[in-house]
């Protein structure tokens, strides 16, 4: 068989090895969270769900989880709302405006988060504004914005033109074309954008570290500072819970736009 036929077993082997490598740490964390030992053990010894209850009762994790849920929900709303509006606007913009706006909307992906975090810390403390939950939510929403715009833009571009013409011929005013034709069609992509915006904010560590304060500790920040001092089954259980939350989001995206959309 020619080595360039994709059916050649060598490619299947490479694919299996890469997938195994990619999933290994996730599987290991999940399995290590049920160990009966009070220290990290892999393979786990025994089977218990005790660490999950203890993790949720650990005040830093519990408070971090509540803060993260609030921040991520607000961030997802901001990213989805503004991203959908921007995508609708970009669809109606000329090539000149797009050539300026499209790079602007990829900026949040291009600037390293450690630089954004430091820049925000400087700007917020030197201007006297200070950090707050709302600011963190808006900033993390900005990180999701490029994705929501991309998801929704792709969906809008996929709408067949004859649907617009049909709506027009049936007497639909232009504004209602958006609300009654476009929005229902792009709804799955908006949902995928919201899910993705949520998970981006929920997992974001670096900027949250820079903006953290006594009353603003997100779950990743709580986990990071915990690991710096001790690495035990408690924090592993918390990580497993956050994997479960991501898994729900992965399913939502896979069911709506497909994970391939992330790479475009």
């Amino acid at each position: 068989m020619s080595p360039f036929r994709h059916e050649h077993p060598i490619y299947r082997l490479a694919a299996i090895l890469v997938v195994a490598f990619l999933l290994a740490p996730i599987a290991v964390v999940t399995l290590a969270s049920v160990t009966r030992t009070s220290y990290v053990a892999f393979p786990p010894r025994g089977l218990t769900v005790r660490w999950f209850w203890m993790a949720l009762q650990e005040p830093n994790f519990y408070k971090g989880l509540v803060t993260s849920l609030k921040v991520s929900a607000l961030a997802a709303i901001a990213a989805t709302g503004l991203g959908t509006l921007a995508a609708l606007g970009l669809d109606r913009s000329g090539p000149q405006a797009r050539s300026i706006l499209e790079p602007l909307f990829t900026l949040p992906l291009a600037v390293p988060t450690v630089a954004i975090g430091l820049a925000l810390l400087l700007a917020l403390s030197l201007s006297g504004i200070g950090s707050s939950l709302w600011i963190l939510a808006l900033v993390q929403g900005t990180l999701g914005l490029p994705y929501t715009i991309r998801f929704v833009s792709t969906a809008i571009e996929g709408i067949p033109r004859h649907l617009y013409w049909a709506a027009q011929d049936l007497g639909c005013p232009p504004r209602q074309v958006t609300t009654r034709v476009v929005l229902p069609i792009i709804r799955p992509s908006i949902m995928a954008g919201a899910a993705f915006g949520f998970v981006v904010a929920f997992d974001e560590l670096t900027i949250a570290l820079f903006l953290a304060g006594p009353s603003l500790v997100t779950l990743p920040v709580a986990m990071y500072t915990y690991i710096e001092y001790s690495f035990d089954p408690l924090v592993i259980a918390m990580a497993t819970l956050s994997i479960a939350i991501s898994a729900v989001v992965i399913l939502v995206i896979q069911r709506t736009v497909g994970l391939e959309a992330l790479g475009r």
Partner: protein, 295 residues
């Protein structure tokens, strides 16, 4: 349809502007304006407040960039991310080739498996590596078995551990970008090369590989940009004893509270990451884009 009807489908341009404005304001406010502060603080010589912004000096540049420790950190940053990029490209190349020709079902299953780690909390993934590479972990045990000397703390705190973490982080991007490049290679070109008598090695080196260089550069630069930028991976797997640029910025900004130095290093990082992406896409568009797709 008449021209008038086509025109009336488009809202007046100001409606588009109004709907884009909030998102644009958010990006400028959350990223643009803070970056101006970054530049302003880098031009100070000490931790001064806003009122001291008039004393612009390059003293900070001289002090930071003449420090050999900083250059060692630059070198390590480049070394670990370049190595991780090369490994990730080598691993993703055959996988992306398989994906690009696989059936629809196989493709979507593979994408689910390859992309889902990107959506799993980076701290969870890193904890997996802390277990696998740490003291008593599987990887040090195997290495010891085949005759390597492994320190008691396992591989945590070594550059090798950072490289493993970075490969894990950037591999999905490699597969995605190379898949796009391979899908642009028309199967009829392979058939044509075969008809003209190309052997396996000629087919690969004279047809497939040259056609994939553009995608390879794109994938490698994206991977490299992620590698130099990421904070959590080198912070946890380097255990604080293998500083790279991102962890040095964090330490200078939040631990040592030397804001001018931190800002300068952050600007170096931003420029480096942007140069990687923009430079690569420029090179690709100049030299390697397949001709008929450029139009």
């Amino acid at each position: 349809m008449t021209v008038e009807a086509a025109v009336s489908l488009r809202k007046p341009p100001n409606a588009a502007a109004i709907s884009i404005a909030p998102a644009a304001v958010l990006v400028v406010g959350a990223m643009g304006i803070p970056l101006v502060f970054l530049v302003a603080v880098a031009l100070q010589s000490s931790n001064a407040g806003v009122d001291a912004f008039h004393q612009v000096t390059l003293e900070n540049f001289r002090r930071v960039l003449s420090d050999p420790f900083v250059w060692r950190v630059f070198a390590r940053t480049f070394r670990v991310s370049a190595l991780a990029t090369v490994i990730a490209m080598a691993c993703s190349y055959p996988v992306a080739w398989y994906l690009s020709r696989a059936s629809h079902r196989a493709r979507s299953l593979m994408f689910l498996l390859i992309m889902s780690p990107l959506l799993v909390s980076i701290l969870a993934r890193l904890q997996g590596w802390l277990i696998l590479l740490g003291p008593g972990g599987v990887v040090p045990a195997v290495l010891q078995e085949i005759g390597f000397a492994v320190p008691p703390r396992g591989m945590i705190g070594t550059e090798a551990a950072i490289v493993v973490g970075l490969v894990h982080l950037v591999l999905p991007f490699g597969v995605l970008n190379l898949d796009v490049a391979f899908r642009n290679i028309d199967d009829t070109w392979i058939l044509a090369a075969r008809d003209l008598g190309a052997t396996d090695s000629v087919l690969f080196w004279r047809v497939l590989f040259p056609l994939s260089i553009g995608g390879l550069i794109r994938a490698a630069s994206a991977a490299m940009a992620v590698g130099v930028s990421i904070f959590a991976t080198p912070a946890l797997l380097g255990a604080g004893i293998r500083p790279v640029l991102s962890t040095l910025i964090y330490n200078q900004g939040l631990v040592s509270i030397n804001w001018p130095a931190a800002s300068l290093l952050a600007i170096v990082l931003v420029l480096g990451a942007m140069l990687l992406i923009l430079g690569a896409s420029w090179v690709v568009s100049m030299k390697y884009d397949v001709g008929w797709r450029k139009q």
